[in-house]
């Protein structure tokens, strides 16, 4: 193997290891770069609520089918570690008592797999036939039959497909779990800014209902109003 090939291989290996170890997204330079943000006790919180279109572009998994996705960035205070936990977040419908806690990547992946497998592929195809029949004897009655043009019409109904549905196999669930986990907000102690996606199970709501992100910070509840 040439030296160049070895060099490439080593770089590929290092990058693979680095990528495998990373989690979450890259936080913006400062919390001020987030439109929705707050700063309490030196701790910055920035939020971006993703639209369905953004979710479809960001994830291979169909997360938009089950969840509201928000990108959350946390900026710890200087020289102080911040304990990041998904349990500290909640998404509330404005002016109501209805709120949801974030779901884990595993739970979301299971939900998506179930949804993908629940639908049934049913194909309905109309059929129309036109033919010509020559005169002859009916093989059953023995009588003479007259020839002429024949017409037929019908409907074919097909149920199921040839292969597994997209996202319905156990391998798919595992892949979705990896994706959601790797892109999710990393939990644990953070001394540097961290960011990642948080998945809130969808709650039926009226169109135009405002959403609020709640975050428990040092025992105090911080509320961020999200765009509708």
């Amino acid at each position: 193997m040439s030296g160049r090939t070895w060099g490439t291989a080593v770089v590929v290996c290092c990058v693979a290891l680095a990528v495998a170890g990373s989690k979450g997204t890259v936080p913006r330079a400062t919390v001020e770069r987030y439109t929705i943000r707050t700063l309490r006790d030196g701790i910055g919180v920035g939020v971006v609520l993703l639209s369905s279109e953004q979710v479809r572009k960001t994830f291979v998994s169909d997360v938009d089918r089950c969840c509201v996705v928000a990108e959350i960035a946390l900026y710890p205070a200087k020289d102080k570690a911040l304990e990041v936990s998904l349990n500290d977040f909640a998404l509330r419908m404005g002016g109501t008592e209805t709120a949801t806690k974030p779901a884990s990547a595993k739970l979301v992946a299971m939900s998506l797999q179930r949804k993908a497998g629940s639908g049934r592929d049913i194909t309905v195809s109309p059929t129309v036939g036109v033919g010509y029949e020559s005169a002859g004897y009916d093989p059953i009655t023995g009588g003479r039959t007259s020839g002429g043009v024949t017409r037929s019409a019908g409907v074919m109904v097909g149920v199921g497909g040839r292969g597994p549905k997209a996202g319905s196999t156990d391998k798919d669930r595992a892949a979705m779990e990896i994706e959601l986990s790797e892109k999710g907000l990393p939990e644990g102690s953070a001394t540097a800014p961290v960011s990642g996606y948080v998945y809130f199970p969808m709650v039926p709501r009226k169109k135009g209902t405002a959403l609020q992100m709640e975050y428990v910070l040092n025992g105090n509840k911080v509320v961020l109003n999200l765009p509708q």
Partner: protein
């Protein structure tokens, strides 16, 4: 009786030596054959410390060739590894330059112009596209069965990367 050193005796002596020489030759051939073997399937090689692909996420059979000295060869995907299968997902790759080398989880997959459509088992993969004198392109790729993922890798010498 024939005297020592006669042609007949020399003939016998030569005949006796020949098998010895043959066995030496066979031994050498046997030595050469070790390390020149060919095997397929998930195989980490006899030394077990290859720097490539330790994650066990290989989507298909790749071939290990031990022609190379030192640590042996590097893993790569056998022809047909990316063929269509109903349980797989598609990765549609476009790269500039087209002859860029493509690595999946550190294993060589081929050149980009021959990998415009790859069908992989569902899972997460590290995709790397590299070319001489160009910045390498790296992306974590998630594949789901029945889904198609389009990736455009533009390898710029100035370090620019683009993904659509």
């Amino acid at each position: 009786m024939k005297t020592p050193g006669s042609p007949a005796q020399e003939t016998v002596a030569r005949d006796a030596e020949i098998p010895v020489e043959k066995s030496k030759i066979r031994w050498h051939l046997g030595t050469i054959s070790v390390g020149a073997g060919y095997s397929s399937g998930p195989y980490y090689g006899p030394y077990g410390y290859y720097p490539y692909g330790p994650y066990g996420l290989y989507p298909g059979d790749w071939v290990y060739s031990s022609w190379y000295p030192m640590w042996g060869g590097y893993p790569y995907y056998a022809p047909g590894s990316f063929a269509y299968n109903s349980g797989r997902g598609e990765v549609r790759l476009t790269a500039d330059p087209k002859v860029a080398e493509v690595y999946i989880d550190g294993a060589y997959a081929g050149t980009a112009d021959r990998l415009k459509s790859m069908w992989l088992d569902p899972g997460a993969y590290d995709l790397t596209v590299s070319a001489k004198d160009r910045e390498s392109f790296h992306q974590r790729v998630y594949v789901l069965s029945g889904k198609s993922l389009k990736i455009t890798a533009k390898l710029g010498s100035d370090g620019t990367k683009e993904k659509l």
